[in-house]
């Protein structure tokens, strides 16, 4: 299986310049992230707010410029491309956004919204615009009769389907899904996930699936990257793998099980995610970690093999 996407040592820092009342600060949004995305696989990125998962998604499509690291898509070095070349390449790599309410221009009809990728790319839709729109709406399970509606006339779930139809318009091979169901009701979430599963099988798509919901990622993804404060702390190569990083384990224990017979005493983690500004040396999780010792406060752990998969921890469980 060849890799569709190879990410190595990708980092992004944001700096705020100092002023008379402020000192200059650096924020490490994404810090030294490396992973491969093989063709046809679904890789999930999970973490709490501020862990850098959405920044990672935007970096991969070069919607924001990485500070360092390399990105290879289908063998090509993305960072060496000019913005015009990048625009052509994005026909093959598309993104579905979290908020379908703001992702579609309220003044566009659904038809216009779905045709936008063709206009941006200067491509003539094969078989004409109307036929193409009908095709795409059918593909995502929408009634083609909705084509002349406006976004405010359709529901959130339908809007997200339009978002997916638009992402599929140019027949990409990679879809980056940034919390595609976070603003939807659970019953609608299940529909969208079902649709994504079906499209993957039919079109042979590869997904990078970004979510804060560990149980959703466990259900939907083949491989899971767990992020904390900009770093990948654990890579679970399959969903049955026993987690070793104390953070992953906490995340699992904090997830509620929909079964009142399996009620457990949750021992929640104290504290919250620290500020990503001006990180202290050592492991970012050290202040909340039950396994913490001396070395954790001085040395940042690197990803290394432990019981068969990659973990970034000095004291894996």
């Amino acid at each position: 299986m060849s890799n569709l996407l190879e990410v190595s040592n990708l980092s992004k820092t944001f700096s705020s310049s100092g002023g008379p009342f402020r000192r200059a600060r650096t924020m490490h949004a994404v810090n030294d992230v490396s992973f491969d995305l093989p063709k046809g696989r679904v890789v999930g990125v999970v973490g709490e707010s501020g862990c850098g998962k959405s920044t990672l998604a935007r970096l991969i499509l070069r919607l924001i410029e990485p500070t360092k690291g390399t990105l290879r898509f289908d063998g090509e070095d993305l960072r060496a491309k000019t913005s015009a070349q990048m625009r052509d390449l994005r026909a093959h790599m598309q993104m579905v956004f979290q908020d379908p309410y703001s992702a579609i221009d309220p003044r566009y009809t659904i038809e216009r919204a779905v045709l936008e990728p063709f206009i941006v790319q200067g491509v003539k839709p094969s078989g004409g615009g109307a036929a193409q729109v009908e095709d795409l709406l059918n593909m995502v399970g929408l009634n083609p009769g909705l084509a002349d509606r406006f976004p405010h006339q359709i529901s959130g779930g339908q809007k997200q389907r339009v978002g997916i139809a638009r992402a599929l318009a140019l027949r990409p091979s990679l879809l980056v899904l940034d919390e595609p169901t976070a603003s939807l009701d659970v019953s609608v979430q299940a529909q969208i996930i079902g649709l994504l599963e079906q499209l993957r099988d039919e079109l042979g798509l590869t997904y990078l699936f970004i979510s804060h919901d560990l149980s959703l990622v466990q259900y939907f993804c083949d491989e899971i990257l767990v992020m904390y404060l900009g770093r990948v702390v654990e890579v679970l190569p399959d969903t049955n793998r026993q987690a070793c990083h104390p953070y992953t384990i906490t995340l699992m224990n904090s997830t509620f099980v929909p079964d009142p017979k399996q009620r457990r005493v949750i021992r929640p983690l104290e504290g919250e995610v620290p500020s990503p500004f001006d990180l202290k040396p050592g492991c970012a999780f050290a202040d909340r970690c039950p396994q913490v010792n001396e070395i954790c406060r001085t040395e940042t752990p690197e990803l290394s093999k432990h019981s068969g998969h990659l973990v970034a921890c000095h004291n894996p469980i």
Binding site: V186, A190, L216, F256, R264, E272
Partner: protein, 316 residues
């Protein structure tokens, strides 16, 4: 502690809520679960007497809190209850605190208003409550402003305000929706402990069946403004009778066996302006028959639980 009977609410000619009945005792947690637009927050607002603020009114039924009828209660008396014996925890802690006032001042004001405490006594009360909520260095926190705190910490302050007047009933409207999972677990655990320690009655409003499964004793499942199934949590999860409840339990993402798929419900939740005839769930229901399109099923009791479906029980 709280008895709601056949509650119906209308805004002008629109009736988004009808036929809601449940009761809640001390030391008990009742979950009201449903998707957006199901009427769960509206139920909470009716109990708090906040409907008149947006031109709504209770058109039928009763709400009895500790022997007192609330639907006919005059506004001044309601003001004493609200924030006093009935505490409210809202969904978004970022908007329920005053950004210009110190944390301490905001929490103190509740005890000063409702319990007639002096400023000094109220502050001691505040520090006490913050400590029980496991907030480190409570005296110091009192001097902070909301923007200096994280989301989880702000939600604890909102809980502290709800507790400051020593309420008997706590209404929590999606208390953890805006929070990260690890923080959600902390807050839910905290609410659970409070119910036990203070013998509170907790009404927990949520869209999340997993939260209900982990915390509640009883549950009311709502759909399109009606209770469609209710009863003890163990029974409802073990053997849901209504097709909507069955699907709602089935569509929660979890690690399933290979090849197993999540259940999904076709269609979308109707809005109050286009409620279907008969059973409001029938356009999305797999068991839909002629009778479902014409006749609204009543909530039928069976032991401790009740279900509103013409074809209850039979699994799909």
């Amino acid at each position: 502690m709280l008895e709601v009977k056949d509650l119906a609410v209308a805004f002008g000619s629109v009736a988004p809520l009808s036929g809601v009945t449940f009761s809640l005792a001390k030391g008990e947690t009742l979950g009201i679960v449903g998707e957006s637009g199901s009427g769960k927050s509206l139920t909470a607002m009716s109990i708090m007497g906040l409907l008149s603020m947006s031109d709504g009114r209770v058109t039928a039924g009763s709400i009895v809190f500790d022997g007192q009828e609330l639907t006919t209660l005059a506004e001044p008396a309601y003001c004493k209850l609200r924030g006093g014996r009935i505490g409210l925890i809202t969904q978004n802690p970022m908007t329920s605190l005053d950004p210009l006032k110190k944390i301490g001042t905001q929490v103190d004001s509740v005890a000063i208003l409702h319990l007639g405490m002096s400023k000094k006594a109220a502050r001691a009360n505040t520090v006490d409550i913050l400590a029980t909520l496991r907030i480190p260095e409570p005296a110091l926190i009192c001097e902070r402003y909301p923007h200096q705190m994280s989301g989880g910490m702000k939600q604890r302050i909102v809980i502290a305000m709800a507790l400051a007047a020593d309420p008997d009933l706590l209404i929590a409207d999606e208390p953890t929706t805006a929070l990260d999972v690890t923080v959600q677990a902390q807050i839910i655990r905290l609410l659970d402990d409070l119910v036990k320690q203070r013998d509170l009655a907790l009404l927990l409003i949520t869209h999340d069946m997993s939260v209900v499964a982990q915390t509640c004793d009883k549950v009311v499942v709502m759909y399109a403004g009606r209770a469609i199934e209710q009863g003890p949590v163990l029974e409802i999860f073990d053997d849901p009778q209504h097709p909507y409840t069955q699907a709602l339990v089935g569509c929660i993402p979890r690690d399933l066996g290979d090849g197993e798929k999540l259940t999904s419900i076709p269609g979308t939740v109707p809005t109050v302006l286009n409620y279907p005839s008969g059973c409001k769930f029938h356009p999305r229901c797999a068991r839909n028959q002629d009778i479902c399109t014409t006749e609204q099923p009543e909530l039928v009791r069976n032991g401790d639980s009740a279900v509103a479906c013409h074809f209850a029980g039979a699994s799909t």
